[in-house]
Every structure is written in structure tokens, then in C-alpha cells.
């Protein structure tokens, strides 16, 4: 057990950073969206039945041998280039030796002192300020299997009677991206950490190398943090916080660890070098595994795999396939769309950037696209508790609804009903309009009858209009709309009323 007799109180973040500066390091694992695993031809589909995507290689059966997935190497190089890294002229895989039941060979095939990409950086815009984060390395490795802990109350590892192992995930390619130490003004540290992880997510999506979904574990962040007293050059002992599975949690984990470290240090105790587990519910961390001399991974070059020496021609060819860097792209889009800084920040913040891009590509104006995604659709997504991209409506359909409005075929109210039909799976906007009969009526025959009826039913109002009180027409328009269940062309109705009562 720990020699610490009590858990010191947390020091509020704002007070902690008056006296300490956080030193951050971020390790991000990206699961590549290749069709097959890193070293074998097994499929990588998420959510498959247990042990249906396994073979002798990824089960670590006796005699099995790995063969490197070319696409994974290509993705690793593209990621490295997008992170402004050098690409190794020659590098090897290495075995990281340790025993764990979710790791079939009891070594992880990884890279050690020869990563495929190294010495890079990314520039982040955070609250109008630019921060450069230095990337130490990006290397290739393989994922582990998944354990299900059975028995005990919580389904967690402690108290479980036994565990059940599914190796579908074992061997899926991972790229681990490691920063150098990050030292930014203390109050900015949480936001910078979050922005960095968000930036990586955007980058992976733009590169089309990973789903990069923190909720599904295809992008995982470990937050390493230590504190040093202000003005001191001495680094403190660091903790490594794992299980941080949303952008917001990255920020919260930094804040919590700063508070916790400050509390421990203020109490005159020392920080243990350990892994910490982040808890989504209350934003706290709890002790994981202590680091010790026992962590002797006995790395050595993987004899079963040939070294990787990407030709400079290949590297340059891949450089040519890189997408526009996210920050530059955002600047370009903002200017093309004529968005204000606030518009742009709202759009990005709502996770609607790519959706707006696609909606504009399908024919809508940027303003209309933003109005839909940040308005009606954001409200519905919020109600349903899902992401905008999971709502069940495509950018093409949104653009289609907007086109109906622009053509005057539906009004705003009808448009929302069209959308409802689309969301209910009734087909394309055009099909919903037809099926539900939602198109506005601007045919004078049908409208004229309704207008006559409204005039007849409201003689007082009609008289006011005859007397020149044109604004009273509203009441009659309302009556016509009600009669026609909202499907009348309101502009034409007004014209007809004024003509008839001139």
C-alpha cells in the first residue's frame, strides 16, 4: 500500500497555477481504418461477433509469422508528413516484451528507437493565439484484444472472477503520436491540450486514414502531466492519465491533474509515477498501475519483419496526396463563405464544418447550410442525444430542402415538415413533398375560392382593408392559410386579397 496516509485536498486550478506551471505531454493512439490488420489479412470491422476476425497470426498461434500491411505504412508516412515530420530513410519494427492476456504473442510488435516519422510539429490556434506543439515521433504498432470481465459487481477488472477474451481488435494497426513536452501559459494548458487532440482528429479525417472517433476508441489520448514551481527549472514527477475519451475530457483531465498534483505537493508529499484512470462522470482520476523497474520491455529488433526503407520518391509522391492543412483550409473556407470569426467558430464548435462543406457542395448557399445545421438540425440532434452526422439526414438532402424553398415550392414551415419526413425515412425531399402533398398552392383558382370565403366570413376585416387599413390583411391571410392547412403561397394570397378589396 501507499505510504501516504491521507489524500490531500485538491487545489482549485486557478489557485494552483498561481504557484505552479504544468508541463504536458500527449500520447495519442490512432487506429487506422485499413481494410486489414497490421500484420495479417484479417478484417477490421468494428463491432463484429467475437473472434470472427482472427487467424493464426493475430492469435499468436505457434509458427505464425507477420507480414506488414502496405497501406498502414503508407498511412503512417502520410500522417508523419501531415505532422511536418521527417520520414525515416530506414527503420525497423521492434518487439516490446511484456505479458498480458489481451496480447496474444506476449509481445507487442511496435517501433522503438527507429520510428517511421520524427521531429515534427503542429501549429494550433487557440483563442486567437498560435501555439506550436512539437511532435517527437509517430510510430507504427498493433492493437491488443479486448477483455470482458465477468463476475463481481461492476463488470470491471477488480472483483471479476474471470475474463473473456475477444481478439478481433488484436493486430489492428495503430499509429502512436508522441509530443515533446508542452509548456504554454498555465491558464491556456487545458485548452491547448484539447485543441491539439481535436487538431489530430481533424487531420486524421482529412487524411482519410482513420475514423478517429474517441467514443469508439479509434482515437485515444493519454495525458502526461507534471508540475514545476513557478520560476523553477526542475521537472516534477509525472502522472499518465489514460481512458480520456472525449475532447472535453482532455481539458478536464488536465485541470484535474493540475489540481491534484498541487494538492499533493502543497501537503509536502510526492507525486507517484503511475498511470491514472480518468472518470467521465465526475472528471476525476484514480490510481492505475504504478510504474516501476519491473517495466523492462526488453525491446529488440523484430527478426520476423524486414526493415522499412521508404524511397524518397514514394515519400514525395505521398506528400503530393496530403490534404490542405486544416487551419489553412478553415481560413480559406471562412473567406469563401463570407463568415465572421464567430460564425466560423460556431460552425467548427458544433462539429458541423464538414457537413456545411458538403451541403454547399450540393448546391446550398453557405448561409443557408449553416442555418440548417446550426439551427433546426442542431436542435433535433440535441433532443435525440446524437451527433449531427448521426441524425440520419445527408448534406445532399438538406441542400434539396433548401432548393425547394429557393424555388418557392415550400415555405419555411413546410420545409421543416419535409425534413421531418426525410428524417422519418420517407425518402428524398422531393418524394416527401409528393407523398405528403406539402407543396404550396399558388394556383389562383384554388386560392381565389379560399380568399372569397375568408372575405365572406370576416366582413369587418374586409371593410377595414377597403378603408385603406392594408395591414389588416394579415388576419385574412391567416384565415386562408388555416383553411389551406398552411400550404398556400402567402405572397400570392396577399395580392389576391388586396386586388379583390381594392
Amino acid at each position: 500500500m501507499s505510504t501516504q496516509t491521507s489524500t490531500p485536498a485538491l487545489v482549485p486550478f486557478e489557485r494552483a497555477i498561481e504557484r505552479y506551471d504544468p508541463v504536458l505531454g500527449l500520447e495519442v493512439h490512432v487506429e487506422l481504418s485499413t481494410a486489414t490488420k497490421m500484420f495479417c489479412g484479417c478484417a477490421t470491422a468494428f463491432g463484429a461477433e467475437p473472434n470472427t476476425q482472427v487467424c493464426p497470426v493475430c492469435l499468436g498461434l505457434p509458427g505464425a509469422l507477420p507480414v506488414v500491411n502496405a497501406k498502414a505504412v503508407e498511412s503512417a508516412i502520410r500522417i508523419g508528413l501531415a505532422l511536418n515530420c521527417e520520414i525515416a530513410e530506414w527503420c525497423r519494427f521492434a518487439r516490446k516484451n511484456y505479458f498480458y492476456p489481451d496480447m496474444p504473442k506476449n509481445f507487442q510488435t511496435s517501433q522503438y528507437d527507429e520510428p517511421i516519422a520524427f521531429d515534427g510539429y503542429v501549429d494550433l490556434d487557440v483563442e486567437g493565439e498560435t501555439f506550436r506543439i512539437e511532435v517527437e515521433r509517430a510510430h507504427m504498432e498493433e492493437d491488443t484484444g479486448k477483455s470482458l470481465h465477468v463476475g463481481g459487481a461492476t463488470g470491471r477488472i477488480h472483483g471479476a472472477d474471470h475474463s473473456l477474451l475477444d481478439y478481433n481488435r488484436a493486430g489492428i494497426p495503430l499509429i502512436e503520436i508522441v509530443t515533446r513536452t508542452i509548456e504554454v501559459p498555465a491558464e491556456k494548458a487545458p485548452a491547448v491540450a484539447r485543441a491539439y487532440v481535436q487538431h489530430l482528429r481533424d487531420l486524421m479525417v482529412a487524411l482519410d486514414v482513420s475514423d478517429a472517433r474517441m467514443d469508439q476508441g479509434s482515437l485515444r489520448a493519454d495525458v502526461n502531466l507534471s508540475l514545476k514551481p513557478k520560476g523553477s527549472a526542475t521537472l516534477g514527477t509525472r502522472s499518465e492519465t489514460k481512458n480520456v475519451n472525449s475532447f472535453r475530457s482532455v481539458e478536464r483531465a488536465v485541470r484535474f491533474e493540475v489540481s491534484r498534483h498541487a494538492g499533493v505537493l502543497d501537503a509536502g508529499q510526492s507525486i507517484l509515477q503511475e498511470t491514472r484512470n480518468f472518470h467521465e462522470a465526475d472528471g476525476s482520476t484514480s490510481p492505475g498501475r504504478p510504474k516501476s523497474d519491473a517495466d523492462d520491455y526488453r525491446y529488440f529488433p523484430e527478426p520476423d519483419l524486414a526493415p522499412v526503407s521508404p524511397s524518397r520518391e514514394w515519400v514525395e509522391e505521398l506528400r503530393g496526396t496530403l490534404p490542405e492543412p486544416p487551419a489553412e483550409r478553415r481560413k480559406r473556407l471562412q473567406s469563401e463563405w463570407g463568415f465572421s470569426d464567430l460564425d466560423m467558430r460556431d460552425t467548427v464548435g458544433a462539429g458541423a464544418l464538414e457537413l456545411v462543406v458538403a451541403t454547399v457542395a450540393a448546391g446550398a448557399t453557405p448561409a443557408a447550410a449553416k442555418k440548417w445545421w446550426l439551427g433546426e438540425l442542431a436542435r433535433r440532434a440535441n433532443e435525440a442525444g446524437v451527433g449531427l452526422d448521426e441524425l440520419g439526414v445527408t448534406p445532399e438532402q438538406v441542400a434539396g430542402v433548401q432548393a425547394l424553398i429557393d424555388e418557392g415550392r415550400v415555405n419555411d414551415k413546410l420545409a421543416r415538415q419535409v425534413l421531418e419526413g426525410v428524417l422519418a425515412g420517407e425518402g428524398s425531399p422531393e418524394e416527401v413533398v409528393t407523398a405528403r402533398g406539402l407543396e404550396v398552392v399558388s394556383d389562383d383558382g384554388a386560392l381565389g375560392a379560399a380568399v372569397d370565403a375568408a372575405i365572406a366570413a370576416n366582413p369587418d376585416v374586409a371593410q377595414k382593408i377597403r378603408d385603406g387599413k392594408v395591414q389588416a390583411a394579415g388576419a385574412l391571410i391567416g384565415a386562408v392559410m388555416k383553411e389551406m392547412r398552411g400550404q398556400a403561397d402567402a405572397g400570392r394570397v396577399r395580392e389576391l386579397i388586396l386586388e379583390k378589396l381594392a
Binding site: L65, V67, F107
Partner: protein, 497 residues
């Protein structure tokens, strides 16, 4: 027709071709021989009469139907029990894999099946191929047909005993530090370690990945070449498999002409430490080569003296990692310690203690040490540098000569138990064979007669540059004719001419 089990593979192939024998006859004859003598030899851990006869019958039927078949179709073969076979257990000679039946074939087994060779069964070995005597088999020792009180060598001791004892005309071995060539020498047969990467390792239970290689064992150089040709060739499932044409080993084995060939005698592999009877036969062999028109020179390879030291660091290091997967979680022996419910870690540790033998544990611990933090550079790192030096010595030697020769082993076969208590003494037996594994070059051992001091078989080793395996067979075939070594009359019965 004489007893089919006395025929060489090439002779069987010919008899099958001209219809004087059927594969079922030949296969049954070998199965009968195994049933008769294997309790004395201990060469097999598993025999598969049904599977072997089914293949034999299929080959006979196809031949009768007029189909053109590969040369060795119908010629039975034994497979070292380190090589995965669907439908037959594969134990690696270890308790930890007792009863395990692989769900996939090794590539070399796929090739044997495609070429129509009936697989007689799985042969005995030192546990996970770790040993030079076959005494480290978890099941039983294999014995030398020349003298069943003696070891057949190892680790492919079962394959060697089976071929030498007329239980199989052909066998597959694996060679990490001499495990084909040394038992070949000890039992008076031909054994070849091909160029590293020449034969696929896929489905062969790894001992030391950067050293292991599968190769043929047979009673003639031509037989070995015929089997070599079946096994060799690029395999996309093995990243270290060479994508290069297979050297024309069969042609070379039929040629056997050393006129004008430059032959280097390795100065460091002979003399002191070598049994006089072994050295004498070797010297005679060199003399025969010179008489046959070869140009014989002495060559120095100074780094070879560090070969054993480098090998006993690189090999156990890779062993410690390769054998980590035997952990009782997914397959193999699971031992649950007594007492309160055990954790996965405790079950792993107890199973590995119970399932591995002493030699395996010794090497795992040694390898764990050599790789551990603080010792890596001094041990594993330095050993890898010695590999470079050994490879440079070979490169320099092959500038001067076409092939190198040495005795395969310092001694003839020793008695069971004679060296069991001294692991280091056992390790020193590998002095001549190890350099080829360190550098990846091919080596062949062939019998050159009996030692005058012990009356037991002596082997001579021929080494060639990487991918020049054909040179081994050319020299081997020439020597085979020149030496005309005596063959075994029968088990424990000594030589017949």
C-alpha cells in the same frame, strides 16, 4: 526388388514411375518398419498410418490414371514435430503443447502435400529444438541407430534416427545452430541447412527467428536435393523469405564435379578440440577433393571463435520472446496452482514452469537477462556485432574460394547422459555449425565414413555463399562418390558395404 525401406528416395521414385512399386507398398513397408523398430529408436512422437496411406493411394490412383506427377510423388517423408500439420498433433517435443493440433499447415507441409509425399508422422526432437542430443525431448530420447546407447544428435534427432534407421527415406529437420547437420553427421546421413530465407518458416514453431531454417535430411545427396527442391521457394507469408529463383540443386547433385573448384579449409574449425578420429576422416576427405582436381587452400575466419558466444546470446534472446506466447491462455497446457483462486498471471507462471523443461527455462532466463535493461548493449548488442564480423569473415573467404569445408562436429555421437549435467559442454558441440546460421549462409553435412577411434559416423560440412546452395550439392555429390562411406547394416549391427 529389394526391401523398399532400404531404397533411396530417388530409387523409390523411379520404381513408382516404372510401376515396379506402388506408393501404398512403399508407405506400408515404412509404417511396418516403424512398428518394428521405433520402440528402440524413439524417432517418432506420432505416426499417421491412415493419412500416409490415403495420400499414397491417391498418388497411385492418379499415376494409374496417367497423370504426370512431381518427382517425389508417393515417396514417404517424416516431419519434425516442430512443423505444423493439420490433422496431426504438433508438440515441439514439449509438454506445454501436448496434444495440440494446429488449425493450419506450415507452408513446407503444404508443399509436401502438393507434391504428393505421404507424411508418415512427426519426429522426435529436443524440446522446442533446444539441444544437441535429443535428450531434451519432454517425451523420450531418440536413439542413434548405429548404437542405441548413444544419442542421434539434435535437435532434429528423431528425423536423423528415422532416416538412418530406415524408417523413412526422407525427413524434414530444422537447423538453428546445426540441428540438421549435427544429427546428420552423428547418424551418417545427409542433412542440409539452406540459405536463410530459402525455405519458408511459416508454420514452423519458432525457436530463434533470425537463425531458424527448415531443410532436408536423406540418405543421399541427390535425395536431399530432390526434397530441397520441393521445400524451397518464395512464400509471401514469411517476410524473410527470399524472392529469388531456387538454386538448381538437383542438377548440381547429379553433376558432382569439383574440377578446378576452389575449396577452403577453415583453419579455426579443426585441430585442437576435435576428436582425432574425426579429424583424420576430415583430412582424408580434403585429400580426396584435391586428388579429384579441386584447388584446396587454408582460409582463416578469426571471428568464428566467438560464434558460440554470439549464438548463445542471440538465440536465447529470441527464444525468450518467441516462447512468451505459450502462456496457457489460448492453447496448450494450463496448470492452476493450489490455493485461493489464481490470477491469470499466476496460472501463466505455473503453466510455464510445469510445461517447459530445464533447458528451455535455462535459455529463456538467459535470453531475458541478455535483453534486459542495462545489459542489452553488453550482451545482445555485442552479439549482433559479432554476427557482422562472422558475416564479413565469410564474405572475405568467399572472395578466395567457392566453398568452405570443415568437420561438421568435433566428436562422434556420445552416450546418453554423458553430457547432460554440463550445458556449456553441450553448447560447445555446435562450434562448427553455428557460423552458417549467424551469417545466413547454406551448409550441408554428409557422411565420410567411420571414425577409427569410435567406429561411429563422421560428417563433413560444406558451406557456400548465400543463395549458392547448388554448390553444396555439387561438392556433396562428388564427395559421396569419392568417399563411398559405409552404410548401416541394421540397428546396432554396425556397417555393411
Amino acid at each position: 526388388m529389394s526391401d523398399p525401406v532400404r531404397l533411396k528416395a530417388a530409387e523409390i521414385a523411379e520404381a513408382l514411375g516404372d510401376g515396379s512399386l506402388t506408393s501404398v507398398d512403399v508407405t506400408q513397408a515404412h509404417l511396418d518398419r516403424i512398428a518394428d523398430v521405433d520402440d528402440r529408436l524413439g524417432a517418432f512422437l506420432h505416426v499417421d498410418p491412415e493419412g500416409a496411406l490415403a495420400t499414397a493411394a491417391d498418388v497411385d490412383a492418379r499415376r494409374a490414371a496417367g497423370e504426370t506427377l512431381p518427382t517425389l510423388a508417393g515417396v514417404p517423408v517424416a516431419v519434425k514435430d516442430l512443423i505444423n500439420t493439420v490433422g496431426q498433433p504438433t508438440t515441439a517435443g514439449s509438454r506445454i503443447l501436448e496434444g495440440w493440433v494446429p488449425p493450419y499447415d506450415a507452408t513446407v507441409v503444404t508443399r509436401l502435400r502438393a507434391a504428393g509425399l505421404p507424411i508418415l508422422g512427426k519426429t522426435n526432437l529436443d524440446e522446442f529444438a533446444m539441444g544437441s542430443s535429443n535428450e531434451h525431448s519432454a517425451y523420450k530420447p531418440a536413439r542413434n541407430p548405429w548404437d542405441t546407447e548413444r544419442i542421434p544428435g539434435g535437435s532434429s534427432g528423431g528425423s536423423a534416427a528415422a532416416v538412418a534407421g530406415y524408417e523413412a527415406p526422407l525427413a524434414l529437420g530444422t537447423d538453428t545452430g546445426g540441428s540438421i547437420r549435427q544429427p546428420g553427421a552423428m547418424t551418417g546421413i545427409v542433412g542440409v541447412k539452406p540459405t536463410y530465407g530459402g525455405v519458408s518458416r511459416y508454420g514452423v514453431i519458432a525457436m530463434a527467428s533470425s537463425l531458424d531454417q527448415v531443410g532436408p535430411m536423406a540418405r543421399s545427396v541427390l535425395d536431399a536435393a530432390l526434397l530441397h527442391e520441393v521445400l524451397a521457394g518464395h512464400d509471401p507469408r514469411d517476410s524473410t523469405s527470399l524472392d529469388a529463383p531456387v538454386p538448381s540443386v538437383v542438377d548440381a547433385a547429379r553433376r558432382g564435379d569439383v574440377t578446378g573448384l576452389r575449396v577452403g579449409v577453415v583453419k579455426e574449425l579443426g585441430g585442437e578440440g576435435f576428436q582425432p578420429g574425426v579429424q583424420q576422416r576430415f583430412d582424408e576427405t580434403v585429400e580426396l577433393l584435391a586428388q579429384a582436381g579441386a584447388e584446396v587452400v587454408e582460409v582463416s575466419c578469426p571471428s568464428f571463435e566467438h560464434g558460440i558466444a554470439a549464438y548463445y546470446l542471440v538465440m536465447p534472446s529470441e527464444v525468450s520472446s518467441n516462447l512468451a506466447r505459450f502462456d496457457a491462455m489460448r492453447y496448450g497446457l494450463r496448470v492452476t496452482p493450489d490455493g485461493p483462486p489464481a490470477s491469470a498471471e499466476q496460472v501463466m507462471a505455473a503453466s510455464r514452469d510445469a510445461g517447459f523443461g530445464d533447458e528451455v527455462k535455462r535459455r529463456i532466463i538467459l535470453g531475458t537477462y541478455a535483453l534486459s535493461s542495462g545489459y542489452y548493449d553488453a550482451y545482445y548488442g555485442s552479439a549482433q556485432k559479432v554476427r557482422t564480423l562472422v558475416a564479413r569473415d565469410f564474405a572475405a573467404a568467399f572472395e578466395q574460394v567457392d566453398v568452405l569445408v570443415s568437420p561438421t562436429t568435433p566428436t562422434t555421437a556420445w552416450r546418453l547422459g554423458e553430457k547432460s549435467d554440463d550445458p556449456l559442454a553441450m553448447y560447445l558441440e555446435d562450434v562448427a555449425t553455428i557460423p552458417a546460421n549467424l551469417a545466413g549462409v547454406p551448409g550441408l553435412s554428409l557422411p565420410v565414413g567411420l571414425a577409427s577411434d569410435t567406429g561411429l559416423p563422421v560428417g563433413v560440412q560444406v558451406l557456400a555463399p548465400a543463395l549458392a546452395d547448388d554448390r553444396l550439392y555439387n561438392v556433396g555429390a562428388a564427395l559421396e562418390r569419392l568417399v563411398d562411406a559405409p552404410v548401416l547394416a541394421d540397428i546396432d549391427a554396425g556397417a555393411a558395404r
